[in-house]
Amino acid sequence: MTLAARRAATAYAFLGIPLLFFVGVRLGPMLYMIAMSFTDWGLLRKTLHVVGIANYEAILADPVFLKSLLNTAKYAVFGAPAVIVLSLGIAILLDRLPRGKGVYRLIYVLPYITPLVAVAWVWRWMFQSPPLGIINAAFVSVGLRAHEFLNSPTQALPSILAVNVWVELGYCTIVFLAGMQTIPSSITEAARIDGASGRQLLRWITLPLLRPVIILLAVLEGIQFLRIFTQVYNMSFQALGGPLDSTKSAALYIYQKAFTNFDMGVAASASLVLFVIILAVTLVQLKLFDRKLTY
């Protein structure tokens, strides 16, 4: 065996462990789930039968599932871009700060490192109707009308979405700041000497060079919002995704089918639908953003 071959063998041996983990904990259960989505597996039942595509027909005819998909789309379409645009703006401003960068960075990252369940409950309390919620108390004290927030089928989803944007901001800001450090100062300095303005620098240097970071975050945040669960589970009354299913995400629908109705077959088929959607969205994102750039 040549030295190179031996090196490769060592590398594969070490990589084998995570591979084993991946196959055992990710891939295996996933294949099992795909198989189960064609059965009537119920947790309390001891027998199971193959039912073909009946589960898929059932969920696609279920208005609640379709609504949960629509809600999931709303979370992703409004949430992910909002997080990326806002955090990029904050990162650009922070990068210009001569002093106190660390303090601001900490302020923005705090929500992200707070346990999500705690964040969800604190916001849930703040969104309460009068006489309890602090936000409505503030509204009323300055003469504004009280809002229903989580009690309203039109305001509940944006309220939960806003909280999640607030949580994700810190993480994205940090990643953008790190990305900005990798832009070689020689390029920016050269541009400055050529008389480029701040806006031109941003448009022609910073943004293009941040492209890989933007792609990464677009993909990560897209996935994050597409599988949103904890916030909806904790912020909607009795964890039902209400009022009137207006905040129910696909992930919550799957959870309810699996662990409230014990209908694992139906839950598996819904999971597969969600998986295919996330995969498709991610591939499209990669395709759209990942054009080679040369300087």
Binding site: L44, S129, P131, L132, A146, P153, F259, F262
Partner: protein
């Protein structure tokens, strides 16, 4: 050398003897219930009493938080682990029986005649499937109107004269409601929480009082979608949309609002007695559910005990003994004293005729109905959503109730097909 050999033999004899004795004597059965402090404490006591009387049987209690109780059960089954005797809500029985998770109780100990003789009529009806009985309860629960005496006084109402009819209820509720300058409700006159006990108040009480029958006798046909049913449903939603005496999720939920003294009246169950008694400075009373056109109705429910499928032999014998003990009159009395739930055997209630709170709930039992659920959570959500449709989307109550009936019928049909 010789001595060592004797020593070893002795040790072995002792060890083996001990092991055999232990094996012959002990059957351990596992009992599951959800975590509720007073129930868990009492159950530990009861297990001691039971073990003292039944040497050779050990009972192990395992508890889980209420929220994840069903999930734990579901997760334990495929893993081949889990309880021998399990405590479950009667509304889950159809699904658990249909799934084959629990076994029919031996007819010798728990015959239909015995059940009919021992328990309230709605119990026997709810635990029997295909002529077999699947579970027995220790305690039952009903609803009552609970009210805050201090808030009654503050509003100039007599704290010892709670409303007796729906009309009086409405008048008092209006008087007890308070609003801020913008018109936001800050003190609810009557809590309107369908996801709490509101949905059963509509289902088994208001529907019947207005002249509708909620379900067919076998529970398989939804029949509340009648003119009378619509009137009953609208009576409920009008209190939210027109009178604004309360609305769903006011101050988080109804027990929270009532214990925080932000609400004057609520429709709640007897299981709340212990909780309310524990709240400092809360002066509360209970009254029978208000009547309408002279008709009384109430909703009864219960947690019940079943033996899991696959428990056989000595374990099954032990489990049957334990069930018999758990549903005995002496345990029922302890249950009422320590947990606050009402005895499942009617004859035991005489002792509490003079208790101002318990007697009110007991009276309700005489005319209570237990819904034959097939999917308690699903059926609750349908009425809950129906109220939300009217309240949040300004939908027409008649159309909403009609749609709810269709939805619920489909749920029932899907279950039995």
């Amino acid at each position: 050398m010789k001595r060592t050999r004797i020593g070893i033999s002795l040790c072995m004899a002792l060890f083996l003897g001990g092991a055999i004795a232990g094996q012959a004597a002990d059957v351990t059965i596992t009992y599951w219930q959800y975590f509720y402090q007073s129930k868990v404490d009492l159950m530990n006591d009861l297990i001691q009493q039971f073990e003292a009387r039944n040497p050779g049987i050990k009972v192990e209690q395992v508890t889980f938080p209420y929220e994840s109780y069903q999930q734990k059960v579901a997760a334990a089954v495929p893993a081949g682990e889990g309880p021998d005797v399990i405590n479950l809500y009667y509304g889950w029985l159809p699904l658990w029986v249909k799934s084959g998770y629990i076994q029919a109780l031996p007819d010798f100990n728990f015959s239909s005649r015995y059940l009919a003789k021992t328990f309230y009529p709605f119990v026997a009806q709810s635990v029997s499937f295909g002529g077999k009985n699947y579970s027995v309860p220790t305690a039952v629960r009903t609803l009552a109107l609970i009210y805050n005496k201090k808030l009654f006084r503050d509003a100039g109402l007599d704290p010892n004269a709670p409303p007796r009819t729906l009309d009086e209820l409405l008048t008092d509720a209006r008087r007890l409601s308070k609003y801020d300058t913008q018109g936001n409700l800050v003190q609810a006159g009557l809590l309107m929480q369908p996801s709490g006990q509101g949905h059963v108040w509509i289902r088994e009480v208001l529907f019947r009082q207005f002249g509708a029958t909620p379900y067919s006798a076998d529970g398989r046909t939804v029949t509340y979608n009648s003119q009378a049913g619509i009137q009953a449903f609208q009576w409920y939603t009008d209190r939210i949309t027109k009178d604004k005496v309360g609305y769903p999720n006011f101050s988080t939920d109804d027990p929270t609002a009532f214990t925080a003294q932000k609400a004057a009246m609520n429709i709640d169950g007897s299981f709340r007695i212990a909780t309310l008694n524990a709240v400092k400075n809360l002066e509360w009373g209970a009254a029978e559910l208000p009547t309408y056109k002279g008709i009384k109705s109430n909703f009864a429910s219960f947690w019940t005990n079943a033996i899991v499928n696959g428990v056989t032999g000595a374990k099954l014998d032990a489990a049957v003994k334990f069930l018999t003990f758990l549903t005995s009159p002496e345990v029922q009395e302890q249950w009422l004293q320590k947990v606050g739930e009402l005895p499942a055997t009617p004859s035991l209630s005489d002792k509490f005729k003079n208790d101002p709170v318990i007697s009110v709930f007991l009276k309700g039992l005489a005319y209570a109905h237990a819904t034959s659920y097939v999917d308690e959570a699903g059926q609750r959500a349908i009425l809950d959503d129906a109220v939300d449709e009217v309240n949040l989307k300004k939908a027409d109550p008649a159309a909403v109730l009609k749609a709810a009936a269709v939805k619920e019928q489909k749920l029932i049909d899907d279950f039995w097909k």
